[in-house]
Symmetry: C2
Subunit: 182 residues, 2 copies
Amino acid sequence: MEERKWRRIESRPAGHFGIFSVRYDRSRSPVSGYEREYTVLEAVDWVNVVAVTPEGRFVLVRQYRHGTGEYTVEIAGGGVDRGESPEAAARRELEEETGYVTEDWDLLGVVEPNPAFQANLCHTYLARNVRPDGKPAPDPGEEIDVLAWDATEVQEAVRRGVIRHALVIAAFFWYDKWSGRA
Amino acid sequence: MEERKWRRIESRPAGHFGIFSVRYDRSRSPVSGYEREYTVLEAVDWVNVVAVTPEGRFVLVRQYRHGTGEYTVEIAGGGVDRGESPEAAARRELEEETGYVTEDWDLLGVVEPNPAFQANLCHTYLARNVRPDGKPAPDPGEEIDVLAWDATEVQEAVRRGVIRHALVIAAFFWYDKWSGRA
């Protein structure tokens, strides 16, 4: 489908908040001429990692999350540093958060966290044959419990809502497709 | 696992940006005593809807998204209004964005869009036997093409990255589980 994009008339910063910035874009519809200001959240791209041991266990992280104010169970992940490739960021985050490493990496999929107002992407990697040979180096305040659950435990945690981070659910969606389970 | 939460020492607003607000929480770890300010994005809860016709077609919306600056294909969805239940919001958003209605509703699952810095939830509904009998009422500037794709077309769109909104992928994850496909 060929379609003209909205035209950005003006863009102005609304603030910097550490992990993200906010800008306002005034944009005009090519269809109706309708025009208004839209809020856009700018952040670096994110990565996350479905990490599986040779025994088929999934390496997960349990930590306090300041957004929801709860402890969560997730897969390892974080932001892509300036000048870093998404795969390098995935390797780094897995090692920093869990101490697990491997040379067996594949890109599972890429999602938009929320295209309505976020500009960035999340790249999901599959890390196979991971082993706890690395050097965990959590950021200050990152107090992480590393878990190694089998597939049944992961499925049960998703079913019960113990794992419910959307980007983690999306990662398991790709993993199920990739592994031929769905 | 019993675990003490971080203690919020102080909380202050950082700004209002229409569809969300930002606040800073100064919080202290119960484990290490480490203390710092965390950025939290506050928004209303969101809903989205896997809507299926009696013929097994999925009702999708194609629209320009100001976050990524691209046209996307997604399922219908939006924010829960004040005083509205998530299911009522799902019914309203489906009708407003697509004109499709039904009385056949189920909750598929609930996800956290990003617990690291977002406080809100996204509630995903399954709407079966939807029919185009409603009154589309898109918001100003919402210029929406309504699509009705079969399961193969949806799968292909996900595989090719045409559909790549994380909350939509998570919705299809729940749908696959619910429908026994995975």
